[in-house]
C-alpha cells in the first residue's frame, strides 16, 4: 500500500488555516473514508455535478486545509458557504461522519476571520446580538411588521415597487411573508394548557422566536393539538431563541449562551418531553448535548435536555392518543383531496422524524396522501440560505416545484417555518395554476381535527 504523497506541506501561515486546525475535529476528518456514498444525497452536488460541491469534497478540503495541503482561500470559504447545511449527507454515510459538526466548526472558523463590510457587520450584530436573543426586540419587530402589514403600508410599498430596489430574492420573499403578530402563544394561552382527558405525559413546548412572531397561530394550534392527543403542555415564558441561526452562521458562542438559558429554564420544569414544531430549531435542541459538551457546568443537564427533545408529529404518533382527522372541504370532483409533504431536512436527517408526519397525513379521512418525488431533498430554504445564495437556492427550488406539480396535490405540508415560506415562494413563482396551498402540518391537522365530545 502506498502512503500519502502530494505537494510539499504548506506552513500554517494562513490565519484561517490555523483556526481550522484548532477547531476542526480531526477524528471526524479521519473517519471519512472517501467512499463517496454521500454524493447522491447532496443537493449542491446534484445541481453542479462537481466534486468540490459535495460532502466528500468539502471534507477533503477541510482536511487539506488542516494538513497544510491547501490554503483556505476565498474559494474555500465560498464552497463552505454554498453548503445548505441540510445534512442529507449524514444518514447516507456508512462511517457515521458527523458532517454537521465539521461544517459548523468550519463556519465558526471562517466567521472569526471574516472581514464583513460595514453594513453587513451592523446587520449581523443587530440580528445575532440584539434581535434573536432578546425576545422583546423580536416582538417589537413583529409588532411593527404587523402594523406595516395591516396599515396598508405594505400594499403601498408593494405597489410603489420600492422592494424592487432590494435583491430580487428578498423582494420575492416579502410578498409571501405571513401576517406577523405581537401576541405570541403565551400571551394567548398562558403558560399551562392541560391535556384533554387523562394526561399521558408532561411536556414543555419550545415556541421558537420566529415561529412565535410570524407563526403564532401555529404555536397555538400545536398546543391545542398536543392537548387533544393527551399531553399536559407547559410553555415556559422566559425561554429564548434556540440559537440555530447563530450556529449555522458560525456564531457558536452566541448559540451556547442561548442554550445555557434554555437548559436552565426547561430543567426547572422537570418535563418528560420538550416539543418542537420547527425542524430547524429541533435539530439544534436535540444536539444541545454536543453543543455544550465542553462546558463542565452544563454538559450533564444538556444531555438531560437533548434526550427529551421531540418533534410534535413524532410525539403524537409514538406516545399520544392520535386524534381523528377528516378533510373538511370536498373536492369538486369525486376523488379525494390530495395532500403532499416536503420534509424538513433537519427534522428528517437530524431528528430522524420523517415517518410520523406521513403517518398523520395518512390518517386523514377523505384525503389522499401522495408522496412527492425527492421529498427528502432540501428545498433550498436552509435558514437564510435563499437570501445569501439566491442562485443555487433558485435552481434547487425550481427542480422542487417540478416534482410538486407532478403530485397534483391541493396542499403542500411542511414541518418548519423556513420550508413553509420557501414552498409558498415556489408556488408563487413556479406553479402555473397556483391552486396548491402550502401549510404547516400542525395548522392543517388542527383545522381538521374532530373532537370526540
Amino acid at each position: 500500500m502506498a502512503s500519502t504523497t502530494g505537494k510539499p506541506v504548506i506552513e500554517h501561515a494562513n490565519p484561517l488555516a490555523r483556526t481550522l486546525l484548532e477547531k476542526l475535529d480531526y477524528d471526524q476528518l479521519t473517519n471519512c473514508m472517501r467512499c463517496g456514498f454521500c454524493l447522491p444525497a447532496c443537493p449542491t452536488f446534484h445541481e453542479t455535478g462537481m466534486e468540490p460541491a459535495s460532502p466528500r469534497g468539502r471534507i477533503a478540503m477541510m482536511k487539506a486545509a488542516v494538513d497544510g495541503l491547501m490554503v483556505p482561500d476565498q474559494q474555500f470559504q465560498d464552497q463552505m458557504n454554498l453548503c445548505l447545511g441540510c445534512r442529507a449527507c449524514e444518514p447516507s454515510c456508512p462511517a457515521d461522519v458527523k458532517y454537521g459538526q465539521l461544517i459548523e466548526q468550519t463556519k465558526e472558523a471562517i466567521e472569526e476571520h471574516a472581514t464583513h463590510s460595514l453594513p453587513i457587520k451592523v446587520i449581523r450584530k443587530t440580528v445575532f446580538k440584539n434581535l434573536f436573543p432578546k425576545r422583546g426586540s423580536l416582538k417589537l419587530l413583529g409588532g411593527s411588521l404587523a402594523v406595516y402589514q395591516k396599515s396598508g403600508l405594505q400594499k403601498v410599498v408593494q405597489s410603489t415597487g420600492v422592494m424592487k430596489l432590494f435583491p430580487k430574492q428578498l423582494s420575492e420573499m416579502e410578498a409571501i411573508l405571513p401576517s406577523a403578530s405581537s401576541k405570541g402563544v403565551v400571551e394567548r394561552l398562558g403558560t399551562f394548557y392541560p391535556a384533554k382527558g387523562e394526561a399521558i405525559a408532561k411536556v414543555a413546548m419550545f415556541r421558537g422566536c420566529i415561529m412565535d412572531v410570524m407563526f403564532a397561530d401555529t404555536n397555538v394550534n400545536t398546543v391545542e393539538l398536543l392537548s387533544a392527543a393527551g399531553f399536559d403542555v407547559y410553555i415556559p415564558e422566559s425561554q429564548v431563541c434556540c440559537g440555530a441561526l447563530h450556529a449555522h452562521s458560525g456564531e457558536m458562542n452566541g448559540a451556547r449562551e442561548l442554550a445555557a438559558v434554555n437548559i436552565d429554564i426547561f430543567k426547572q420544569l422537570d418535563v418528560d418531553y420538550i416539543v418542537s414544531n420547527a425542524g430547524g430549531c429541533g435539530a439544534l435542541l436535540v444536539e444541545y448535548d454536543h453543543l455544550m459538551q465542553d462546558n463542565k457546568k452544563y454538559s450533564e443537564s444538556a444531555k438531560w435536555f437533548a434526550s427529551r427533545v421531540i418533534d410534535v408529529s413524532t410525539l403524537i404518533v409514538e406516545k399520544g392518543r392520535v386524534p381523528k382527522f377528516a378533510q373538511k372541504e370536498s373536492s369538486p370532483h369525486a376523488e379525494k383531496i390530495k395532500v403532499t409533504y416536503q420534509d424538513s431536512c433537519h427534522l428528517r436527517n437530524v431528528m430522524k422524524g420523517s415517518s410520523a408526519p406521513r403517518k398523520l397525513m395518512k390518517e386523514i379521512v377523505n384525503a389522499e396522501y401522495v408522496e412527492m418525488a425527492q421529498s427528502d431533498r432540501c428545498c433550498g430554504s436552509a435558514g437564510i440560505y435563499n437570501v445569501v445564495q439566491p442562485e443555487m437556492a433558485g435552481s434547487i427550488l425550481e427542480h422542487k416545484m417540478e416534482h410538486a406539480n407532478n403530485t397534483q396535490a391541493s396542499y403542500m405540508l411542511t414541518s418548519n417555518p423556513g420550508c413553509l415560506l420557501q414552498m409558498k415562494l415556489g408556488i408563487e413563482k413556479h406553479k402555473p395554476d397556483q391552486t396548491m396551498k402550502a401549510m404547516h402540518i400542525v395548522d392543517f391537522l388542527h383545522d381538521r381535527m374532530i373532537l370526540s365530545e
Partner: protein
C-alpha cells in the same frame, strides 16, 4: 505544470468552466475510495462528448500529459489517484442513457451514468441488468466496466464483463475505436471489448457502451442458515452447487463480522456462530420453491444450527439486514477501514477464512471477513487508524500474507476491485513474469507513450513473497 498553450487549447475544447486548475479542483480530485492515498493532479477536465475526449487525448499525447479517467472515484485500488500528476478527466457530464432497445434487449449508455440509476431505469421497463456492485448507488457504468465490477448476483448472472457487448473508446493518440455491437456472436479478430473491460483506464477512455439486458426474474426467495462449524457452511456452499442449483445470491459472514454487525444493528444474531450464509434464489416460482427446499435440506445435512426462510418481502429484508450492515458496521468501528478483495475457489472458502483469522491474530490486527461465498470472492476487511503507522504496517504485512494464502489455495489477489496501485506489487504472483510481459506489450500497443493512468497495474517491483516461494 501545464504550459499556457496547452491550457488555452484545453479550455477551448470544453469551455472555461469545465477545465479547472484551481486549488479546490485539484484537492478534490487527489483521492478516491482507497484509504491513505492522495496525490494532486495539475488540472481537472469535464468533457461532454466522444469528440471532446478525442481532442483532449490528442493534446495530452503530443505533450506527454498523463490522463486519469474518473467516474465517481469509488474504487478501492487507487485507480483514480493521479500519482504522476497530469489531468483528471471526470466523466460525470457524459451521463445519458442513449437508448434501450426492447427488440434486441440492449442499452446504449454513456460512461458517466450512475449504475444504480441505470438499473432502476431498465427495471422500470421490465428488464434486468444484473451487475450490482455494493457501490452501485454512486459508481458509474464506465468505472464498472474499467474495473469489471461484480456484485452479489455474480454467481448466477456473472459480472460486468458478461454484459458488455460493445464499446466506443478513445485511444491515447485520440483515435476513436468501436468494438463489438448489438451482437451475440462476433469473432472478427481479437476481442477488444473484453480486453477493455477491466483495463482500469490504462488502455483507452470508454465513451459509450452497448450493454446486454435480460428479462426480469419473476420471483425471489431469501433464506439464512447459521453454522457453529465453518466447514459445515463451506460444505453447504459446495454441495448446493454440486446439486446443480445456482442461487442468485450466496453470501457468507464470518464470526468477527457477525459480532460487529450484531453490536451495530442489534438484530440478535447468535454470537457463537462460526458463519452465516445468506441465500437467495430467483426465477420461475415453482423452480424457486423447489430450489429453496433443496437448499434447506442441504443446510440441515450439514448441521446448520438455525435456518430461517423469509415468508414475504418484508421478512426477506430483515434477513438481508445482516449482510447489508456488514460494511457500515465495520466502517464505524475504527477511523480507517481497509476493504480488501481476495478470491479463492469456493471449495476453499472455509480454509481461507480460517487462515485469514489466524493471520490477523498473528499480526495482532482486526480483520473480519464477509463476501460472496458462491463465487469464492471474499472481502477480508481491516479496521485500523491511519494515524497509527506501526499498526497500519502490521495490517499491510497481514494482507500480503492473506493474498499469498489466496494464491496458494488456487485463488487470486482481487476478484472485483482491480489492481490499480494497491495490488500492483502482487500482480506477478498471480499471472507470472510472462503474463506481466504480455500485459505490458498490450499496454504498449494501445498507449505507447504511457500517458493513460500511468503507475497503475504494473509496479516497479514485485513484492517479495512473505513466506517461502510456493508452486
Amino acid at each position: 505544470m501545464l504550459n499556457e498553450a496547452v491550457v488555452r487549447q484545453l479550455r477551448e475544447i470544453v469551455g472555461g468552466k469545465f477545465f479547472r486548475t484551481d486549488q479546490e479542483a485539484l484537492i478534490t480530485h487527489s483521492y478516491d475510495g482507497t484509504p491513505m492515498l492522495q496525490a494532486l493532479p495539475d488540472a481537472v477536465i469535464y468533457p461532454e462528448s466522444t469528440e471532446q475526449v478525442s481532442e483532449i487525448m490528442k493534446i495530452a499525447n503530443s505533450n506527454l500529459i498523463p490522463i486519469v479517467t474518473r467516474g465517481s472515484g469509488s474504487n478501492l485500488c487507487g485507480g483514480t489517484v493521479p500519482l504522476q500528476g497530469g489531468i483528471v478527466m471526470v466523466m460525470h457530464r457524459m451521463n445519458k442513457i442513449i437508448e434501450v432497445d426492447m427488440e434486441n434487449l440492449t442499452a446504449i449508455v454513456q460512461p458517466g451514468v450512475i449504475t444504480g440509476q441505470f438499473i432502476t431505469h431498465v427495471e422500470g421497463l421490465g428488464l434486468f441488468y444484473p451487475p450490482d456492485p455494493s457501490s452501485m448507488k454512486i459508481s458509474t457504468i464506465g468505472g464498472n466496466i474499467a474495473e469489471c465490477s461484480g456484485g452479489l448476483r455474480g454467481l448466477k448472472y456473472g459480472t460486468t464483463k458478461d454484459y458488455v457487448l460493445g464499446l466506443t473508446a478513445v485511444l491515447a493518440n485520440g483515435s476513436i475505436i468501436r468494438t463489438g455491437g448489438k451482437l451475440t456472436k462476433d469473432v472478427a479478430g481479437y476481442d477488444l471489448t473484453k480486453l477493455l473491460v477491466g483495463s482500469e483506464g490504462t488502455l483507452a477512455v470508454i465513451t459509450e457502451a452497448i450493454l446486454k439486458l435480460i428479462p426480469q426474474p419473476k420471483t425471489k426467495k431469501t433464506m439464512v442458515a447459521m453454522y457453529k462449524d465453518i466447514y459445515g457452511a463451506a460444505r453447504t456452499v459446495s454441495k448446493i452447487i454440486k446439486n446443480q442449483i445456482i442461487p442468485a445470491t450466496l453470501e457468507i459472514l464470518d464470526n468477527p463480522t457477525i459480532r460487529v454487525v450484531d453490536d451495530f444493528a442489534k438484530i440478535g444474531l447468535p454470537l457463537d456462530m462460526a458463519a452465516i450464509l445468506i441465500i437467495e434464489q430467483d426465477g420461475e416460482p415453482e423452480m424457486v420453491e423447489r430450489d429453496i427446499e433443496k437448499i434447506q435440506l442441504i443446510c440441515k445435512e450439514e448441521q446448520a444450527d438455525r435456518i430461517d426462510v423469509a415468508a414475504d418481502r418484508e421478512e426477506a429484508e430483515k434477513l438481508l439486514t445482516a449482510r447489508r450492515s456488514a460494511f457500515t458496521a465495520l466502517a464505524r468501528l475504527r477511523p480507517t477501514t481497509i476493504l480488501e478483495d481476495a478470491t479463492v475457489p469456493r471449495s476453499k472458502i472455509a480454509e481461507m477464512i480460517l487462515r485469514t483469522n489466524a493471520i490477523a491474530q498473528k499480526y495482532n490486527v482486526n480483520i473480519a471477513t464477509f463476501g460472496h461465498a458462491g463465487d469464492g470472492n471474499l472481502h477480508p476487511t481491516a479496521t485500523t487508524d491511519a494515524r497509527d503507522h506501526e499498526e497500519v504496517h502490521r495490517v499491510e504485512e497481514a494482507f500480503a500474507e492473506i493474498f499469498e494464502a489466496a494464491i496458494e489455495l488456487g485463488g487470486t489477489i482481487t476478484g472485483e476491485h482491480g489492481v490499480g496501485v494497491v495490488k500492483a506489487p502482487y500482480l506477478e504472483w498471480k499471472v507470472g513474469e510472462a503474463g506481466v510481459e504480455v500485459m505490458k506489450g498490450i499496454k504498449g500497443a494501445f498507449d505507447p507513450l504511457n500517458i493513460l493512468n500511468p503507475s497503475k497495474i504494473f509496479a516497479k517491483e514485485t513484492k517479495k513473497r512473505v513466506v517461502v516461494q510456493h508452486g
